[in-house]
Symmetry: C2
Subunit: 430 residues, 2 copies
């Protein structure tokens, strides 16, 4: 090993430290204040939604000198006690009535603003589900049933987002329209590959490039039953989301304060302090988790067998958002699915002389619907698996990564981190 002192070096603790570094580097407490306007003495209305919204509001309160009022909505369990900003918790990822009520309340807050007013909009991943207020005349039930139908019929995410934005009172730039003519400063934490402002939390303050006509065509393409109210709305010119020229009239600024890339860079710098060469594979990896894992395993083999493109000790770091097509009835999110498939791929390849450790976790602290952020792979993982006669292939086929890593004692539990820059994977080869 290069500079790594093999006696004192703890690979598992090292990977956990990289993950903690990625989280703290993207936490609003670290990243928001430097983006605020120089003059913070004015009065502001704060609105926001997403897993980091309360933490963002708290940080804002600590740095804003002028009077603050407002309301943000976060998923249940992601709240923080703010002094001036009201924090309400609602359901995520499937919206509930509370989400409808809060988003209605947020809409009301924006109604009497003048050109002298300043709105600070705090957005992060999860914000879309937390702002489910339907457009005028459409019931929450109708909106939900269309959403469910779109998810079931295999519509592309772009198509789902187009429809969502056109059936929403808030998304696709409508919130910005409501705030007009006030000045809006949006501060956002990106959890989407590519960091597109119109995708983060479904872009409530960003112009939308899709049209009502397209939304209707998508519903017809998938032969989805369209309630009369929805058809009428989509045929109504008012259903059109604001386009760039509509919002360009106002002072509407968008600032990304935290991105996946930032988190990966911070982890990479941390690795270097250990003398371990970091290699950021990508900040925007997408695809089926168990297949993405096979590619990561192949890259590990290349490093271990051919020291290409870099020599161990090194750590491959990647972010993005993988997905899982459920076929089994097990527990666990995409990160446990990823790691289980990764281990399975490694065990199928000829053994190398190198030691491999890995971590796969969600920076928001919740991997899917379980209470763990993610999981670890270390030598004891395989020892436990052998001892307990766990069949990796069967756990994977049953989408049961959580149970597997629970049994091998490799769950990482952080609780909600109050930030969200999506997946974090680090694989150490040394």
């Amino acid at each position: 090993m290069n500079q790594v002192d093999s006696k004192s070096f703890n690979p598992t603790a090292f990977l956990q430290e990289l993950f903690a570094t990625a989280i703290s580097a993207s936490h609003p407490a670290q990243t928001l204040s430097k983006h605020l306007p120089k003059d913070t003495r004015g009065s502001v209305t704060v609105i926001g939604a997403g897993k980091a919204a309360a933490a963002m509001a708290l940080t804002l309160e600590q740095h804003w000198k002028g009077p603050i009022t407002g309301l943000v909505v976060v998923p249940y369990g992601h709240g923080e006690a703010c002094q001036y900003v009201e924090v309400i918790e609602a359901a995520h990822p499937v919206p509930d009535e509370m989400g409808v009520q809060v988003s209605h309340k947020i809409a009301l807050l924006t109604q009497k603003l003048s050109a002298d007013d300043i709105v600070i909009c705090l957005l992060s991943g999860g914000g879309s589900a937390l702002l489910p207020l339907p457009a005028v005349g459409i019931s929450f039930q109708d909106k939900q049933s269309i959403n469910t139908a779109l998810l079931r019929c295999g519509a592309a995410i772009d198509e789902i987002n187009c429809v969502r934005k056109h059936l929403s009172a808030i998304k696709g730039g409508r919130l910005a329209q409501m705030c007009a003519p006030a000045t809006i400063h949006t501060y956002a934490i990106s959890d989407v590959p590519g960091d597109d402002p119109s995708v983060i939390a479904s872009g409530p303050t960003s112009p939308d490039s899709t049209t009502s006509e397209q939304a209707l065509a998508i519903l017809e393409k998938y032969v989805i039953t369209i309630p009369k109210s929805v058809r009428e709305w989509l045929n109504n010119p008012h259903s059109e989301t604001p386009k760039p020229h509509d919002l360009a009239k106002y002072n509407n600024q968008f600032t990304l304060i935290s991105t996946p890339q930032q988190a990966l860079n911070a982890a990479a710098s941390k690795a270097q302090t250990y003398g371990i060469t970091p290699w950021i594979l990508s900040d925007c990896v997408e695809g089926e988790a168990k297949e993405v894992a096979k590619v990561h395993a192949a890259i590990v083999q290349q490093i271990a067998n051919h020291t290409q493109p870099i020599k161990p000790p090194c750590v491959i770091i990647s972010g993005g958002e993988t997905s899982v097509t459920l076929k089994g009835s097990g527990r666990g999110g995409r990160n446990s699915e990823f790691l289980l498939s990764f281990i399975l791929s490694l065990t199928k390849q000829p053994q190398t002389q190198r030691q491999v450790y890995a971590i796969a976790a969600d920076t928001d602290g919740i991997d899917g619907s379980e209470h763990n952020a993610g999981c670890l792979f270390q030598p004891s993982t395989m020892q436990q698996a052998h001892l307990k006669q766990l069949n990796l292939g069967e756990y994977l086929a049953n989408n049961d990564g959580y149970s597997f890593f629970e049994l091998t004692d490799d769950l990482i539990i952080t609780g909600p981190t109050r930030t969200n820059v999506n997946d974090f994977r680090a694989i150490l080869i040394y």
Copy 2:
């Protein structure tokens, strides 16, 4: 760009040259002779199977000084005219009666050998299907129906191989057993991720670590109807494949003459002559082609947006064997599926300033069951797609990459190359 002269540089020709380099670097004409014994004056019996078997025999004839007799089997269209070695063509990937007859003839050739005899066994990808002779007492039809059932029930490739070897007269080291006590020199071209000798052409001269008991358990696990003859055979101690200690008694040498890694290294060296930084991602990428493509696209984004881990102009090179789960009724192999999904992923991400070109092809010259080796992605691909209103997502959903790239005029047609080191992908970013 670094040293690349942008005026005279032709990115498409560059990628095609890398592919041609990978093929020629792994062709037996380039790689076999240096591995032959120093003394080639003895009499040899040549046997062999696979896409490269005839080309290997031809090269051997050119370098072997002593008398040569023998027989090799290749897929239809992969023959070469040899002077001393008989070359017979049979069906691949689904075996036919011709394959049964030829493999029987090969078995007969090995029956009267003494300890003074030398056998040269020439193996390459495709050899398994070309040597379908069943074990004693099992009919070709029964062996085939079990094989088909295993493929249908979703058995893992390891499981399929275990059963195949135990129902075969040739595979899993049995050919070596037949040749004993003669000296065997096996020369192999690897088309398998990991280059395991017992996997290449199902390892006719390599010991097998699986057992008849396991083969029976696999058939029972997937509730496959087991004909009486097969059950009796697998319960017969003679059905056991030779283990390492069985073959260690004989002079049985195995030499890899060409590997995927060799081909990738040659392409990488060629890229360097153009001043383009090569980066070999892995020689053993596996997984669903369209998902593997998404990871490649994410890596391209990272290079284009963040120049991590290398700066353009650069070329990402990878090998291995991806797979396609057929859902549509289109045409094309895994490489056209890969490239179509790759392009689709790129178009979904924010555009970069960089130009991206790509090639994905099979080094054996046949991508799946079509006549093309693979396909290209270049600026004209998207121009043609727009002009002809081709919907990338629909072509991909229908597994119809061949038709797409036929319409954009991007098919690569080489004909059988008479080598086979599996997939070759190169993505140029500049």
